[in-house]
Symmetry: C2
């Protein structure tokens, strides 16, 4: 009895020790939640540039919110919502298939960190712009995310002393380092910034596309003739260029290869998982697959299945969609009534998005030079951003290897491989696809814990 | 009522229509079986060469035993039992984890075929030799399997008219074609032989080892330095030889690579599945992994964990082992009391086994020349016999491609890829490991059905 009372007092103190929280945004209860959370949470808006408001959801750590780090989580697309990260990947609770009730996620990242989810840029999810103009680009997104962060820490000033980390997934491979550079050098925002991480990120378009051809062939997707055609048409003296080869014969055969990967019915985000809805439901998610889209738009060879609004191919997000669009859920999350329905990805944002950076190399070099810690991790069965492209990217940063490439262990099993290069680590998560925290939750929480505490994986 | 009576009569007639069955071997009931099978089964012994007796288990088809084909199933090793195929892969029932009770396998191959399982060679499982000498080789095994087949069809003469197919898995990649050649050209045995199939088989030691290096690298197991070392030490003018390179520097680095695959704790039979018992329980199964063993025996670099009798690494066969070794089960299967306990694999057989053939190429060419149908299929996440080695093997047989390399569909999902070369097909089963019918039961039954009926996959 005594120990229980001590424990309860401790939880109470922990939950309320952080003063200066922004009360109007606090989420006190949620439809479909039958359990009592051991953390506090807020949902509301962060002001970015003029008229732009980014929706955030912030959950404190279940361990020690005062001392635990703050982790920012950004999903990619461009145009996809970080609430997918919350409700399907690493958030403290997920939505049951019925779309109505919630269940706790044993491997939530807020077990050990205060986690901030921002829907970015404006136009994504419940984020919006007063003028409803949603054309944007890499630098503008970084600027707006930086402004939103300032707005966040103004609402929650006590967290400026916690260690701070930025995570991006997929196209977040561009959001995270570009934002990190502003945080590291911007001057305005005073936080205890320690590092950034990128999960199945796009780090270099050239390396991503180049490696994907090897990935496809050595995972059995191509066969002898296509592999021969790729080599005959795209390689000279043993050097192959599958990315921006000026020969039409090469571009045609690369398009054929990409068509198998993106358009045949495979789950591009997790090769060995089923495609939700079956092979017929497949469509190219053209926002991200840039080289493929480039060919596609000029050549029009690909069967142009009508685009399903905002749904990435082979992914079933019906449960989240149904739950987030309930009136009572919107109210609990402080979403204005005038905003349209939430969607997992926005074609309006995606289709008008302008990519500025071909590679993140220079930005990584700058970030490492100021002493930041970095982690590039990849579920190794993803084809949207395959592990090999990111492995090559890290290897080519010019950092000296400080460990061998070696296995890491979770629960007595090889969870993947990693290699340390000074302050940056490349790490694979074996058998996981694009959404690592969703498909390898246990290993992914261990990875987070090791990265945040700067320990070997 | 009427239709039910007709149906029951039909089942009764089907089950008993096949006269001339060998009564003493019939299995009438089995410990742990709570359901009534819709097929007949026999277990007993087939006489091979002098003093050698091979244990068989034969189950009739659940569809139409009179008309359905007879399929022979052989597991590999060498030294492993085909009852693993029965009880874990494609048999009509499997053993529950409790090791005591049985449950029906929805995707049993006897849904559409009469299936014969033979434990081969003598010394494996419940097969034995009177002199207890278990040294043998590829040709002797083929001879004995051929004699055993004669013994089988003498016991079950009515099945000589059914179409007949031979399947081998793993080292069965040598058993199946060598036996097929004897059946096709032997003259003694008169059966309606139509073709053979090999699942994750060893078809060429050179191609298996050569391809494994590429498989390992492009599945993220090696890292940059090892890949560079492999290329620097084993390749000249863009041509690599990882198999029998005479340079010690190459052999050393290949050994290092094989060590990661076989000895680091990965599940060599299914890269993305856990290793039963965790990384510590790992050991090299040296019977099959010949090149690795060759290095291992001469260099002694590998940590020589004591061999666990008969258990392949990362595989848990406790349930089968417990069930098959019960006295009442042995009695029901007509196993003589004097025989020792059943084990999934025999080190006595495996360690003394002499491999004669480096490649099955000549034998395949002969078998295709006499008009037989062939299927080489591979679960594409296996590293013991990786898909790429078998793909290259089929491509290099000199048969003209008659289809493109293309996906095949099971239940609205891409189940893998295949390509037809006249009478021989190469086919992958996506996401499955070494034991395809165990890890992709639905696709595997469809594959069987298409192969037996000579239809496109």
């Amino acid at each position: 009895m005594f120990s229980l009372r001590v424990f309860c007092s401790f939880v109470f103190l922990s939950l309320h020790a952080v003063s200066g929280m922004y009360d109007p945004d606090e989420v006190l209860d949620l439809p479909g939640m039958s359990f009592k959370p051991s953390y506090r949470q807020w949902s509301g808006y962060l002001k970015a540039s003029s008229g732009k408001f980014l929706h955030y959801w912030f959950v404190t750590s279940q361990r020690d919110p005062v001392k635990d780090p703050v982790v920012l989580w950004l999903n990619g697309g461009p145009g996809c919502s970080s609430l997918d990260g919350f409700l399907s990947e690493n958030g403290p609770f997920h939505v049951r298939d019925n779309g109505a009730t919630l269940y706790e996620n044993e491997f939530s990242w807020n077990k050990i960190a205060n986690v901030l989810y921002i829907e970015s840029p404006a136009g994504v999810g419940y984020s919006y712009s007063d003028d409803q103009k949603y054309q944007t680009n890499d630098n503008e997104v970084a600027d707006n995310n930086y402004l939103a962060l300032q707005s966040f820490f103004a609402k929650f000033p006590n967290f400026t002393h916690n260690e701070f980390f930025i995570f991006g997934e997929s196209y977040g491979g561009i959001y995270a380092p570009t934002l990190s550079l502003r945080v590291a050098t911007g001057g305005q925002l005073k936080v205890n910034f320690k590092g950034f991480a990128v999960g199945n990120g796009i780090s270099s378009f050239a390396l991503n596309d180049q490696s994907l051809i090897y990935f496809g062939n050595y995972h059995g997707l191509f066969g002898e003739q296509l592999w021969k055609d790729l080599n005959d048409n795209c390689c000279e003296n043993g050097v192959c260029n599958f990315y921006n080869n000026s020969k039409k014969s090469c571009a045609d055969v690369v398009l054929h290869a990409f068509n198998i990967i993106y358009n045949s019915g495979l789950n591009v985000y997790a090769l060995y998982l089923d495609c939700a809805g079956g092979v017929q439901s497949q469509r190219a998610m053209t926002h991200l697959f840039r080289n493929f889209r480039k060919h596609w738009e000029t050549n029009q060879i690909v069967d142009s299945t009508p685009s399903v609004q905002g749904v990435p191919p082979c992914i079933n997000s019906t449960a989240q969609l149904n739950w987030l669009n309930r009136g009572d859920v919107r109210k609990a999350l402080h979403i204005p009534d005038v905003l349209p329905a939430w969607d997992i990805c926005s074609d309006v944002v995606g289709n008008q998005y302008h990519t500025i950076y071909e590679t993140m190399k220079d930005i990584y070099v700058k970030l490492l030079a100021v002493g930041l810690r970095a982690l590039v991790y990849n579920g190794d069965t993803d084809m949207a951003c395959n592990f090999l492209g990111d492995q090559w990217f890290v290897e080519q940063l010019g950092q000296k290897a400080s460990t061998q490439y070696q296995p890491w262990i979770y629960d007595k099993q090889i969870a993947g491989f990693y290699q340390q290069f000074g302050n940056i680590t490349f790490l694979t998560v074996k058998g996981a696809g694009h959404m690592v925290p969703q498909w390898a939750p246990g290993p992914s929480l261990q990875m987070l814990q090791r990265f945040l505490s700067n320990k070997p994986y």
